[in-house]
Amino acid sequence: MALNILMVDDSETVRAVIAKTLKLADIPINELHQASNGEEALTLLKAHWIDLILCDINMPVMSGVEMIERLQEDEILKTIPIVVVSTEGSATRIEQLKSKGVRAYIRKPFTPEQIRGIVEDIIGALDGQES
């Protein structure tokens, strides 16, 4: 299954590094979309079907937490798996995010293996839903 992935991070550099990491990890990608904050991501989600969201927390305009809360208010969008990729190391914050439906958390700086492992787990779960 080739995925439509949305990367949400205010850093162009991080988005470029994640894109490169996904390619290096041989993740099957159909479309790779980018947004620099939560608001841009919500606009993009209205126009494109997305299978997986990789998002940061601290962003201008709309933070990752606010974006995740908005997604949870939508019956369809709340089913999209979300992986948070952030610098924060607070266990309390990570638990809060998971209680809001976040599937996994990757702490920056990340390795290609971490991204690959988590995305493969999610692809497996998505394939399981399809079969």
Binding site: T13, A16, E88, T92, Q96, K108
Partner: protein, 150 residues
Amino acid sequence: MDKNPDEVLTQVVGDILESQAFMFSDPLDELPSFPGDSLLVAMHFSGPFQGELSMAIPVELCAEVAANMLGLEPDDELAEHRAHDAVKELLNVACGHVLTELAGEEPVFDLAVPTVMPMDELEWIKFINSAGCVALSIDDAPLVVRLVMQ
């Protein structure tokens, strides 16, 4: 807070430079002189305590950091274009790790978006002589990081 903030800064920034930009740093015993065109990158944080993490860095080193993070040559135009963004991200990642090292994994901090601005010689001298600074050398280029906690 049991850990020495200066030691934490030196360790965390060194580790992140190594893992994100494949660059190796050494602590400097003496304050570095003005290296020419430089930037001040800064970000506020708030939580159980608040403050600011900031970094004084030569422009040339910013482009090298960007190039290494993106797997480009240092003179690649894209590396120059992404230099500000790359050092803001470097500081952002450092801030998250410094706060976890100092405060532990339970407290929640809110991190502001980093800012970047040019720094002249007078500003450089004032910055490196202020409290809370540690100086590092990366391939003979200086990098000064400052943590201010209130």
